[in-house]
């Protein structure tokens, strides 16, 4: 693994906050949980940076994120919900017509619903790959499984997702 220089906490918050938020939202379908996770991860990063030794930064960060997420899930055991609040919908999309907006929202809700039905291991691998944009090596490092397992989880996750979307 390549060694990355140690970033500052501000850089982590600025450059990775949104990705962490999207990761959590796509895994839970719940903005409150996503909100709490970002705060928790940033706190852990703040503490962790004090003893950080140069390594693959993404692997380190996503290990922290994943552990924080799993800790939260264990602690709260809250049922996920699907709807996205109005003010969070379609942010960053250049203003299309109302029909297009409606179709896009409907599609993304369907995908989100199908995603939440996947077994956790598949969902996590697919989200880390397709939403966060990590490579298979980085996912393997973050999750702590061999690359072959990552490959299998992503592939099977996508197949099940497609079945649920029919």
């Amino acid at each position: 693994m390549a060694e990355d220089p140690t970033p500052t906490w501000e850089e982590v918050a600025r450059n990775h906050g949104r990705k962490i938020y999207n990761f959590a939202y796509r895994l839970t379908g719940n903005t409150d949980d996503a909100h709490d996770l970002v705060q928790e991860v940033l706190l852990r990063v703040k503490r962790g940076l004090e003893s950080y030794t140069p390594q693959s930064f993404d692997g380190w960060l996503w290990r922290i994120t994943r552990n924080a997420f799993l800790d939260e899930v264990r602690r709260r055991k809250r049922r996920p919900t699907t709807p996205l609040p109005e003010d969070d919908r379609g942010v960053g999309v250049p203003s299309p017509g109302p029909d297009e907006v409606l179709a896009a929202v409907r599609l993304s809700e369907e995908v989100q619903r199908a995603l939440l039905e996947l077994p956790y291991d598949f969902r996590e691998a697919v989200v880390l790959c397709d939403v966060v944009g990590l490579s298979y090596d980085e996912i393997a490092e973050a999750v702590g499984v061999p690359v072959g397992t990552v490959r299998s989880r992503i592939h099977r996750g996508r197949k099940v997702l497609k079945e649920r979307l029919r």
Partner: protein, 128 residues
């Protein structure tokens, strides 16, 4: 014939070596089953990657950046604040005060109290 199975997603994601990719290309030319499965996983991949990116709520980042603005005061100020707090009967329990300490909120409350103080209003000539 061995089908490509898991290799198909890796193929789409550019995660195969040159030799593996060449083998996969050759296999796909002759295997309808794998071409169909490739289309299935590609469709799911496109759907996932089409999900809108959700912006981080601005209040979340404001709160996070507020936390880092807090700088410990010099010892003599700290001692004064502690003495004043004790004189008002405030007692702080154990924990991690620096992570949740909202200095700005306390400042705002303090200013509101001072501005509303009749003694201060008299001093400033604002008293009725």
């Amino acid at each position: 014939m061995n089908h490509l199975d898991d290799l198909l997603s890796a193929y789409l994601d550019g995660e195969l070596s040159g030799a593996e990719r060449a083998d996969a290309d050759r296999h796909l030319e002759v295997c309808e089953v794998c071409r169909f499965e490739l289309a299935v996983v590609e469709s799911a991949r496109v759907a996932m990657r089409s999900l809108p990116a959700i912006e981080l709520p601005s209040k979340l980042m404001t709160r996070a950046s507020r936390r880092r603005k807090w700088i410990p005061a010099p010892a003599w100020i700290t001692a004064g604040v502690v003495a004043a707090a004790l004189s008002f009967g405030l007692v702080m329990g154990p924990g991690e005060p620096s992570e949740s300490f909202e200095m700005e909120t306390l400042n705002e409350q303090h200013i509101a109290r001072v501005v509303g103080d009749p003694g201060v209003a008299t001093f400033r000539g604002d008293a009725p």
